[in-house]
Subunit: 377 residues, 2 copies
């Protein structure tokens, strides 16, 4: 068996026990809320992690690329939701995935233009397209307001189209990531829930079926006071966590399951800094944690084996392959000699993990497995 | 033949004619300066582009990962320079590459500790290790000052070690990227050159051979008044260029060869923005151009086929797979309907290209080839 310290750096580590604990907590939380957990695999992009987030089986998943949809469909997943707004040009690939695998890949739209494109497309194919209308619950990125008249126009267009089924409404409180106040998150969760339910009710009052009411975002699912009327929860970052979430009080540093293993490759004694072999490519340039945790830099340094933070060290500067760690105390040169490995807790795990093709799965100081990722599109 | 507009988005485009023009200009520049061009493949990470940057043949290259070294060595490259400070733990892989391919992979170091590690390692192997000492010319990331006494200690340690050859000195004026004033860049280029030559002279005066005097950075090579005494130039970003370089006056927008093709997937009429399917993963979160070109955002929008900038549009916000383009004039909704493709000029091409596995090589509106990239470590 490989020891963690025998790995070539930089590389991505995954603490399996932490993923299992994170997954179990969210499974319990969704059970308590009475909603189906449809984990977002855009964070881990891994079949192995997805299996853990579903308690060992295969269940409904959320994806953000058609490559993820394709991969999960080919590996037995039958109920997939692609949450990035569809365009007609992507329907060929989507229906090919459905036809070749037998999976259903539900799509999301927010415009009459796309609804008409889907309706026109569906006329000429044999497979069925299941669609959800995207509702804006305050993030103001995409989606329509529940009281926008196009909600009913889109619904009618879809309903009238042979081969198309309107299955529900979907929203995403992505703006909950901007908060570090639990009460504020709870209020956003209520608004997310109520907006989506209002849209569903409006559809039902106008004669449309709306079995699915789908909401998502790790913070709002964690802190919603209830989700009555909601049918499913999509969240993803909770499986791995990161400093951005820790900085907002959503998890503790001990929950962070994915880290980057790196090696000290230089001592700049004049500049009072230590150089590591994880730079912008291995860590990403996301500094999302810094708003509420300025000390996070481009990532927090931890002991390679125990994952204990080496407070106050973080990655302060990144070049393509070099990371720079500023030190105040020259004793760090002795504690972290050239060749010593350290781990970096990432700012934003979705971005950092996407720089790597594989998770080196660890238990203590042992590498127990390698799990691939589905990067790209 | 595939038309550009038939590609699935997001994806990476490469305008071959622009790469050829950029490459020819740097070949001519280095010839005029009387230095060997050793292109840095960390930007393009592509055998095909490397071939163009060397006028069609195979010549000396610079790499920043051992994976790049391995790949280029396996494809006929014999003279490779790995410029990220080596550590003894990486020597096994390095010497394996040398043994298996017959290539020489030169290494770089800046400490006595590593020099001793190399010397100790070299005793037990049959291959030869060629090393360069890294000099700091003002970037203050790594390297030692030319007047640091460890220069001679390191040189003596290497020289005394059987199987190790000290071949020269190397420096990198990475801080030239912070300037947008040509006179300032010229001054940095002079300092880069003079620092490296001073170190070489000191070595020679003390009885060491120092055949290689290696400097690098696209801006300083472009604007140095002369490079007498320097033997080789390492630069990489010039092959593809980007907004960061354009913002500093190093190239024009017409020179940028790598762009991201993306599709309009939504119109947020209330929010006066257009949503595209290139987000943080497809573009990176680098905003290096913004210091001198605030309008660059996360990338400038261009016409998909002609690459003409759609002034004043840029990507103003990114989520994982969504990009948001703010508009002042609602006429853009008509000019860029849902489904319309646009191209994004990247902030920092090294970061953006690393998000993709393949270049879709284009000529006009046709895709003429696909060229792979060597991402990862």
């Amino acid at each position: 068996m490989t020891r963690l310290t025998d790995l070539e750096t930089p590389c991505l580590l995954l603490d399996r026990a932490r993923v299992e604990k994170n997954a179990a907590a969210m499974i319990a939380r969704c059970r308590a809320l009475g909603v189906t957990l449809r984990p977002h695999v855009k964070t881990p992009k891994s079949l192995d992690i997805a299996r853990i987030t579903q308690g060992g089986g295969i269940g409904p998943v959320t994806v953000s690329t058609l490559r993820e949809a394709e991969h999960f469909a080919r590996h037995g997943y039958r109920d997939i939701l692609y949450t990035v707004g569809i365009i007609p040009a992507k329907l060929d690939r989507l229906t090919r995935i459905q036809r070749e695998t037998g999976a259903t890949v539900r799509i999301v739209l927010d415009s009459q233009y796309v609804a008409e494109g889907i309706a026109g497309y569906a006329r000429n194919i044999e497979t069925t397209i299941e669609a959800l209308i995207e509702i804006d619950c305050g993030e103001h990125r995409s989606g329509i307001s529940p009281d926008d008249s196009s909600l009913l126009t889109i619904a009618s267009t879809l309903q009238a189209a042979p081969g198309v089924t309107l299955v529900g409404v979907i929203t995403h409180a992505g703006h909950s990531y901007a908060e570090n106040d639990i009460d504020a998150v709870r209020a956003l969760a209520a608004h997310e829930r109520d907006s989506c339910i209002a849209a569903a009710e409006k559809l039902r009052q106008n004669g449309h079926d709306c079995p699915v009411v789908s909401v998502g975002s790790t913070p709002t699912i964690l802190h919603a006071d209830h989700l009555e009327g909601v049918t499913e929860a999509r969240c993803g970052v909770y499986a791995l966590w990161d400093l951005a979430q820790a900085s907002r009080g959503m998890c503790s540093l001990d929950d962070i399951a994915a880290t980057v293993l790196t090696t000290v490759i230089g001592h700049n004694r004049q500049g009072n800094c230590i150089i590591i072999d994880a730079g912008a490519l291995a860590l990403s340039k996301d500094i999302g944690a810094n708003r509420f945790m300025p000390a996070a830099g481009y990532g927090i340094l931890c002991d390679a084996v125990t994952a204990t933070p080496l407070t106050p060290l973080s990655v302060n500067q990144v070049h393509q392959e070099h990371g720079t760690v500023d030190i105040q105390d020259a004793a760090w040169f002795e504690r972290l000699p050239i060749g010593r490995q350290v781990r970096i807790m990432p700012n934003h795990t979705c971005m950092t993990c996407a720089a790597h093709d594989v998770y080196h799965v660890i238990q203590g100081d042992q590498v127990i497995d390698n799990w691939g990722r589905i990067n790209g599109w």
